[in-house]
């Protein structure tokens, strides 16, 4: 016989602090960011998000390299190279792919795997849950848009003839223009992808529908909208992908393309209204849908 005993740790009561709704919201945000990036998930969940991040980072580095190379040349090549506004064209497709991944990943598994019944048995309201998911979505997708812009901004400042601080001081407008245009992309695309993800049961299908609406749907709407008629001009507004780019051109005072909505005479502020309307409709729809699910 030995002196060893089996020690049952039993159940430990908890009388420490409880963080309430704010703690729950932070937990949902943290989990959302981890889920989109595949952190604490199986390896295959990391491949797509980290590949897109790697591509964005590489492209950012290439642009800085080009600006550095141009700055070494005797002729002024740097003014021909893409800067903040044009950079969105290079990154927006990566951003759209990332959004097509992030939106469905954040919403669909919770719903299809029945986890909502556990979440909403905690001190967590539908509104708090959705706000937290939205925060996670905006936070993680903004990285794709803002990180290359930040890298470019700092790179240009290092290369500037008037010095690092001088460049930053004379380009303060970038600090609101880039986030504003980024918000345009994220709010519009976020509104669409979350609305789709609230009804579709498979992440791949939701991503495909989102990309289809932006590409094929936009192209069809643009063609119909350009046909002469009393109402058809409004159909051009359904070419959704153009709106963030119109806002981008408006903010940076550049012309990169002739958009369908511009061709039929809509001012850029109409695009701002469309973005806000679609985002608002998306939020309303998702909230309505989840109130029924809770």
């Amino acid at each position: 016989m030995t002196d060893e005993v089996i020690f049952d740790r039993g159940y430990r009561r908890y009388d420490g602090p409880r963080l309430g709704s704010a703690g729950a919201r932070r937990a949902v945000v943290r989990d959302g960011v981890r889920r989109v990036l595949g952190l604490r998930r199986k390896a295959r969940r990391k491949i797509l998000p980290w590949s897109l991040l790697a591509i964005a980072t590489t492209l950012g580095a290439v642009f800085i390299g080009l600006h550095f190379f141009a700055s070494q040349l005797p002729v002024d090549m740097a003014s021909e190279l893409p800067r903040y506004g044009e950079l969105f064209d290079f990154f927006s497709w990566i951003g759209i792919l990332f959004i097509a991944l992030a939106g469905p990943t954040l919403l669909i598994p919770d719903r299809t795997q029945g986890v909502l019944s556990v979440y909403f048995s905690r001190p967590l309201t539908v509104a708090t849950y959705l706000r937290a998911k939205l925060t996670a979505f905006l936070g993680v997708t903004a990285i794709i848009y803002l990180a290359p812009q930040l890298a470019l901004h700092l790179g240009l400042a290092f290369l500037a003839e008037d010095g690092f601080v001088g460049y930053l001081g004379s380009n303060l407008d970038v600090l609101w223009k880039v986030p504003a245009v980024t918000a345009g992309y994220l709010v519009l695309h976020g509104g669409i992808v979350t609305a789709i993800s609230s009804v579709v049961s498979r992440t791949g299908a939701a991503a495909a529908i989102f990309l289809g609406i932006l590409t094929a749907g936009g192209s069809i709407a643009a063609r119909i909208g350009l046909i002469e008629g009393p109402i058809t001009r409004y159909v051009t507004l359904l070419a959704l992908d153009q709106h963030p780019r119109i806002v981008r051109d408006w903010a940076f005072d550049i012309t990169t393309s002739d958009y369908p909505a511009s061709q039929v005479g809509f001012d850029p502020w109409v695009s701002v209204v469309v973005i806000l309307l679609i985002a608002g409709a998306g939020v309303w729809w998702v909230h309505r849908r989840y109130r029924r699910l809770a």
Partner: protein
């Protein structure tokens, strides 16, 4: 000595889904301890749980949980209550440790403490070794244990367990019921819903019987059932088996495939097996001392 206040009180509780009345004029007081909520599928058990959590509002009547009004203070209630749903509710691509910690955080426990409690609770339910495995790789029994762990990780005063032994093999069921009994020893109040009456008899000190949304009975449960009675559930030829047993001199009650045989000596079980074999019938279940609650439930339904 003042009796402990009830954990749940309902007064005139009614809830309908349009034409369908899920709960009708329910007046119940559930005391501390383990309470069994008995009823067939569609009896209103899950609806009652959802009302207790404040996820559904009563069409009429009032509900108080741990002294809080479920209609006006659902957040206060949910912070002190744990819920184990009957259906699938686990994310396949998260580890058990991460998921349980996450649910603790959702109840307001700080992240570091949530991870510690997650490990401790998974140890308690017997999943210490498996806690870093992904939930998608878990067996049904392991998944039920994780569901129980997430329900108790945040130190609730009351846990609502919806069919906790559902889908488990006999050994798994036995272990789950043992875990539930342990909860009561930790001063955690339990309301356990089940349509398996022997589970309720084994774990509960109080029983609430529902049928079609109506209350059949709410009251203490006599422990052990009637030990003189043996219940056999027979596949086909139940009347023939019953007649043969009656001819042997036993006192018999028959309700469909269910035969209740009264007799003190240990020969009753043998006699049943012999007569079932002789009639070429199938024996689904044979249990001593489990008839009281079942009889009561069936009598209540008949009324």
């Amino acid at each position: 000595m003042t009796p402990a206040p009830p954990v749940v009180t309902t007064k005139g509780l009614t809830h309908d889904y349009g034409e369908v009345v899920a709960l009708e004029n329910l007046d119940v007081e559930i005391p501390p301890g383990v309470t069994g909520l008995v009823g067939a599928n569609g009896a209103g058990k899950t609806t009652l749980f959802r009302i207790l959590l404040g996820l559904l509002h009563p069409t009429e009547g009032s509900v108080t949980v741990l002294g809080e009004d479920a209609r006006t203070e659902p957040m206060a209630i949910r912070g002190r209550v744990g819920y184990m749903p009957e259906d699938q509710c686990l994310p396949d691509e998260q580890t058990a440790a991460d998921f349980v910690a996450y649910t603790a955080e959702l109840a307001g426990i700080p992240p570091g403490e949530a991870r510690r409690r997650s490990s401790e609770t998974l140890f308690l339910v017997g999943l210490e070794e498996e806690r870093f495995r992904f939930l998608g790789d878990f067996s049904t029994g392991m998944r039920q244990r994780v569901k129980l762990a997430q329900a108790i990780v945040h130190d609730p005063t009351l846990v609502l367990l919806d069919e906790p032994a559902s889908g488990l093999d006999p050994e798994g069921r036995d272990q789950m019921l043992e875990l539930i009994l342990r909860l009561s020893r930790f001063q955690i109040n339990v309301i356990l819903s089940s349509h398996v009456l022997t589970d309720i008899e084994r774990t509960s000190g109080w029983v609430v019987m529902l049928d079609g949304g109506k209350l059949i009975r709410s009251g203490p449960l006599a422990s052990g059932g009637d030990q003189r009675s043996v219940v056999a559930e027979v596949l086909e030829y139940a009347p023939e088996v019953a007649s043969a047993l009656r001819a042997r001199g036993y006192e018999i009650n028959v309700a469909g495939p269910r035969i209740s045989v009264t007799g003190d000596d240990g020969s009753v079980e043998r006699a049943i097996v012999e007569e079932v074999a002789a009639a070429d019938a199938g024996l689904v279940r044979l249990v001593r001392g489990a008839s009281s609650l079942e009889d009561e439930f069936l009598a209540g339904r008949a009324r």
